[in-house]
């Protein structure tokens, strides 16, 4: 038995039955990291010592009969979630040496559950990107093909799970940043409903779109992770005071009575790869065989989602990132005698090109004379996109589509054309504009052996339907048994 290959459910069982210890499990994971991390490059910071001491505490807790499903389970954490005493870079030079003085709410919850943090994983700088190539620190490679990107911005999370360097991960999703890398790396990823998980301690990119969520090897593992992190938090006034169900409980109920909506616009997007279309079609047939009914639905404003998203997200980013000024924390370009010079020099040297581009677009879109034409207009189109989903969900429980138009592209393929990179997010970012939950579940492989993900979208706070459809589909398909060869 290779301990690093276990799922959270499998490892939890062995831990509570005392067949293995968390110390053994965590040691096995670090042995695996020693074997493959130099090729994958998922981690910015490794926390071996901290992880082993958390494992020892977990073992004591298990011995005392006080374990939760996550006690002793090694996880990786995207490097934009604040971890007390462990540096949190956000993939940016400007936060290279930032050591948060407090834990994000999700970290407090994981610690209370007894989870073990293996390390902090790579990402596009400030979560702006779809390939993790915008990290100021390193390239992360797709474990299925090291010449390709892992997706982004939670590329380190997805790659670390796919390469068995942890049993699960937390990422964040502003326009597809959990679902798209999950799809490209052949793992499960969930973006919860906006407000389902506290954003307190999440470094902000676009506050009305950002949401923390789990990545795991299986749907059930993601349910366990969401169980642990979901819920209202007085420290995040946008978190929603609504009871958290047990997401594992719904998984095993069948699919009869479930209606699947197939949005015609999502199957007509430019550049939809034939292998992706085929794998998704086969998955839909499988879901029908499992007892669900399918209908066609329409999301007529899909074509405008990318434009609306880049206005809204850039505008919010330009405001959120104003705080990085070289005064309170982070990098400062020293040696300037004037404050304004220091601000400008610090920000220009501290932020990478994609972040600067979005700050400029956002500042432009919010500036006098342009506000109504850009931000105002985009916010109205956002309403129409939200209404599209509302109407669709009057007729179906879950919307099924591809996650990304094509499997993982090659490193460097799109990095010189920002717009081409933006367009690859067309199938995921509407969910963020509408605030609805979305899941990516592996559904097949391209002829080159690259993973393909199936996207499941649900109505606000209807994660349960996603888990139900995701779990039943996953169990009926053999995709989950395949692992990358590293």
């Amino acid at each position: 038995m290779k301990l690093h290959e276990l799922t959270i459910v499998e490892a939890g069982k062995l831990l509570t039955e005392k067949q293995i210890s968390s110390r053994e499990l965590v040691t096995a994971v670090f042995d695996r990291i020693a074997q493959v991390e130099d090729r994958v490059g998922a981690f910015i910071t490794l926390c071996r010592e901290g992880a082993l001491s958390q494992a020892a505490a977990a073992d004591a807790r298990i011995a005392a009969g006080d374990a939760t499903p996550l006690t002793g389970i090694p996880l990786s954490i995207k490097d934009l979630i604040c971890t007390e005493g462990v540096r949190t870079t956000c993939g940016s030079k400007i936060l290279t040496d930032f050591i948060p003085p407090y834990d994000a709410t999700v970290m407090q919850k994981l610690k209370q559950a007894g989870a073990v943090m293996v390390g902090k994983v790579n990402m596009d700088e400030f979560a702006m990107g779809s390939s993790t190539e915008n990290s100021a620190f390193k390239l992360t490679r797709n474990p299925w093909d090291l010449a390709r990107i892992p997706g982004g911005s939670s590329g380190g999370s997805a790659a670390s799970v796919a390469a068995d360097m942890c049993l699960g991960s937390l990422g964040s999703d502003t326009g597809g940043s959990i679902r798209q890398p999950a799809s490209h790396c052949g793992v499960v990823g969930l973006k919860p409903t906006y407000g389902r998980v506290s954003r307190y301690g999440l470094v902000a990119y676009a506050s009305s779109l950002d949401q923390i969520g789990p990545l795991g090897k299986t749907v059930m593992d993601c349910a366990l992770l969401l169980n642990a992190i979901a819920g209202y938090d007085p420290s995040d006034s946008t978190s929603v005071p609504q009871a958290v169900p047990d997401y594992t409980a719904v998984c095993e109920s069948g699919l009869s009575g479930i209606t699947i909506g197939l949005p015609e616009e999502y199957y007509r997007v430019a550049g939809l790869d034939a292998a992706v279309a085929e794998a998704v079609q086969a998955a839909v047939q499988k879901i029908e065989q499992l007892g669900a009914k399918t209908i066609s639905v329409s999301l007529p404003h899909t074509a405008y989602a990318v434009a609306a998203y880049y206005v809204v997200a850039s505008a919010e980013a330009s405001s959120n990132l104003a705080r990085y000024d070289g005064v309170k924390y982070g990098f400062r370009d020293s040696g300037h005698s004037e404050l304004l010079e220091m601000y400008k020099s610090t920000r220009s040297k501290g932020f990478g090109p994609e972040v600067q581009r979005r700050i400029i677009i956002g500042t432009y879109a919010l500036s006098a004379g342009y506000y109504d034409a850009y931000y105002g207009k985009a916010s109205q189109v956002r309403t129409l996109i939200q209404q599209d989903f509302k109407k669709a969900f009057e007729h179906c429980d879950v919307i099924v589509s591809p996650v990304a138009p094509s499997p993982a592209f090659k490193i460097g393929e799109k990095s010189h054309d920002p717009l081409a990179m933006y367009l690859s997010d067309i199938l995921t970012l509407s969910a963020n504009l509408a605030g609805i939950p979305g899941m990516s579940v592996p559904c097949g492989f391209s002829s080159e052996g690259l993973p393909i993900g199936l996207q499941l979208l649900g109505n606000h706070f209807n994660e349960e339907s996603l888990f139900k459809v995701g779990f039943n589909f996953e169990q009926s398909a053999d995709v989950r048994f395949k692992k990358p060869t590293l």
Binding site: D97, F98, I99, P101, Y194, G195, S208, L209, P234, S237, T238, V240, H301, Y304, A307, Y310, V311, A322, D325, G326, V327, Y329, G330, F331, R332, S334, H336, S337, E338, L339, L340, E341, M342, K344, R347, S348, F351, P353, Q356, R357, I359, I360, I361, T363, Y364, S367, K377, A378, S379, Q380, V381, R382, T383, L384, Q386, P418, L419, L433, A434, G435
Partner: protein, 95 residues
């Protein structure tokens, strides 16, 4: 070009960024292309449509005005690039 070099430099100044001369043209080109793409929003009839700034409508989230523990001064200052006597140190503000 949709956005001129001068406009890029002006917006960059507002955003407190110094764009190197060599990079201004590339930025202006890329941003122009993105703004041209964004223009397709004008094809959408949004007359009378209420703008959405937040996907989940919550009414004001109030809390009682009570004292709570907060970070101590040392911890709050610990990440500052320059600090002295419990303060953040910055270059001269007024000329």
């Amino acid at each position: 070009m949709r956005i001129t070099k001068e406009e890029v430099l002006n917006v960059a100044h507002l955003a407190r960024l110094d764009i190197e001369d060599a990079a201004v043209d590339a930025f202006a080109g890329q941003i122009s292309k993105i703004l041209d793409y964004i223009d397709q929003l004008n094809q959408v009839n949004t007359q009378g449509v209420f703008p959405t700034c937040h996907a989940i409508s919550l009414t004001n989230a109030f809390r009682d005005d009570v004292e709570r523990p907060h970070l101590d001064r040392g911890a709050a200052l610990a990440n500052a690039p320059e600090r002295a006597d419990g303060n953040f140190i910055v270059p001269r503000v007024i000329g």
